[in-house]
């Protein structure tokens, strides 16, 4: 291929590319309709009870930034990140930050939950997913799984695995509180 042929190829490719950019403009970003456990989508709603029988509904917490943390007592990284979550909960609570720690009760020992929360001095709501319905809605495949939700009920970040450090929690909470 000589120089002229190459230049024609470059020019045609760039013109076609620019035309494609213009043609496909205006369709993105797509507003994510319907809830899904993915950043950019409305968080799937759920109502769960804590050990005392009090109900918590996620959608009723709109206006606050929420961390939905899926955990179990037998999961070492879940246990390791609890002190950091508790510290951040206390620090950002006044700014409208709430933690909903959803215990995977359907695959956990319910009698170990209260001793666990007392041992770690956890003050945020510990909810019990006894049927696994919430875990299915959030497509939980690894523990811990954390979903940061903004004041409008939209997931801003998903963190799979752990333990999360305080620095990570701070950056994600501050983003969700914006």
């Amino acid at each position: 291929m000589d120089r002229t042929q190459r230049l024609i190829l470059y020019a045609l490719t760039l013109i076609a590319g620019a035309a494609w950019i213009i043609l496909s403009a205006g369709t993105g970003p797509i507003t994510q309709e319907g809830p899904a456990p993915q950043a950019g989508f409305p968080a799937p709603d759920f109502t769960l009870k804590n050990a005392a029988g009090d109900s918590f509904t996620l959608s009723e917490l709109k206006g606050n930034a929420v961390l939905v943390n899926m955990w179990a007592t037998w999961c070492p990284p879940c246990e390791a990140e609890m002190p950091a979550i508790e510290a951040m909960y206390k620090e950002y609570m006044a700014q409208g930050f709430i933690v909903l720690a959803v215990n995977q009760t359907f695959q956990d020992n319910p009698f170990e939950i209260t001793p666990f929360t007392k041992e770690h001095n956890l003050t945020f709501p510990i909810l019990l997913d006894e049927t696994g319905e919430t875990a299915r809605m959030y497509q939980v495949r690894s523990l811990p799984s954390s979903y940061f939700i903004d004041r409008f009920g939209v997931i801003t970040e998903v963190v799979i695995g752990g333990p999360m450090s305080e620095a990570l929690l701070r950056t994600r909470i501050e983003e969700a509180l914006k």
Binding site: L14, W20, L23, P29, F41, R141, S142, I160, L168
Partner: protein, 243 residues
């Protein structure tokens, strides 16, 4: 099949795919070192220092962008969380690491990049596969028969498109011979990758927005494509002047 794959490599296990891709890429690159006048040891060292620079640079860049969070929790600087990472910052650090190592060992940069091209091509495939597993980089809704059910809709399988495009590019650059000038292989790979991204990003649902309506990733791919063409042509010109 897709569901089995997604369950098997569900995050954080999807990172295994990237590691395996990097290992295969390095093995492929090693097989072609002689063709680019780069020693196997140098290639391995470049990759090693590049990866170290990528990891450290990515973390450092993330820290600099979130100084207030780290000033309150400085121990987080050495946290093992992979989420405390800025990929563009890591990439910039890896490029700097590559440049410094190549200069110190007096390895011609374009030869080093040509030698590493199979590695880069495999990384692109690994990224596509890890996105299939994690569901990131998902497509816009579609009624086409090959759409996949993901995040509440039947969507363009953009992650599969990207993986297939990357595989095709690897096959093309692997079969190229002869190489007309140093840098040709790498620049061709970069141009083809940019072109595939320019086309495929139109089907992505979660692009960044440029000037309120254009897809940022497409604009970036177009600029990279332009830069590749300029560099390719300047290489051809300098070769014709010297040759």
């Amino acid at each position: 099949m897709l569901e089995f794959f997604q369950n098997l490599f569900a995050p954080p296990r999807h990172m295994i795919l990237l590691i395996v891709a990097a290992w295969i890429g390095l093995t492929l690159a090693e097989r072609r070192t002689g063709r680019h006048q780069v020693g196997k040891e140098d290639l391995n060292n470049i990759t090693f220092y590049g990866l170290i620079a990528f990891v450290l640079g990515g973390r450092l860049s993330y820290i600099l962008q979130n100084m207030s969070a780290f000033s309150k929790s400085p121990i987080g600087i050495i946290s093992i969380n992979p989420d405390l990472f800025d990929p563009p910052g890591g990439l910039a650090a890896a490029v700097i690491g590559l440049l410094v190592y190549a200069q110190r060992r007096q390895i011609p940069l374009w030869n080093a990049l040509d030698a590493l091209t199979p590695f880069f091509a495999m990384i692109a495939i690994g990224m596509g596969l890890s996105r299939i597993a994690s569901g990131d980089g998902f497509g816009i809704p579609t009624g086409l028969p090959w759409g996949i059910d993901l995040w509440n809709a039947t969507r363009h399988p953009t992650q599969i498109y990207e993986t297939l495009a990357s595989l095709l590019i690897l096959i093309l650059v692997w079969r190229f011979k002869p190489i007309p000038h140093p840098g040709f292989l790498f620049l061709t790979f970069a141009a083809l990758t940019a072109l595939s991204q320019l086309i495929l990003q139109a089907f992505r649902a979660n692009n960044s927005v440029f000037f309120e309506k254009y897809r940022g990733e497409q604009v970036l791919a177009w600029v990279v494509l332009l830069a590749c063409f300029i560099l390719l042509e300047s290489k051809f010109n300098s070769k014709s002047k010297t040759g």
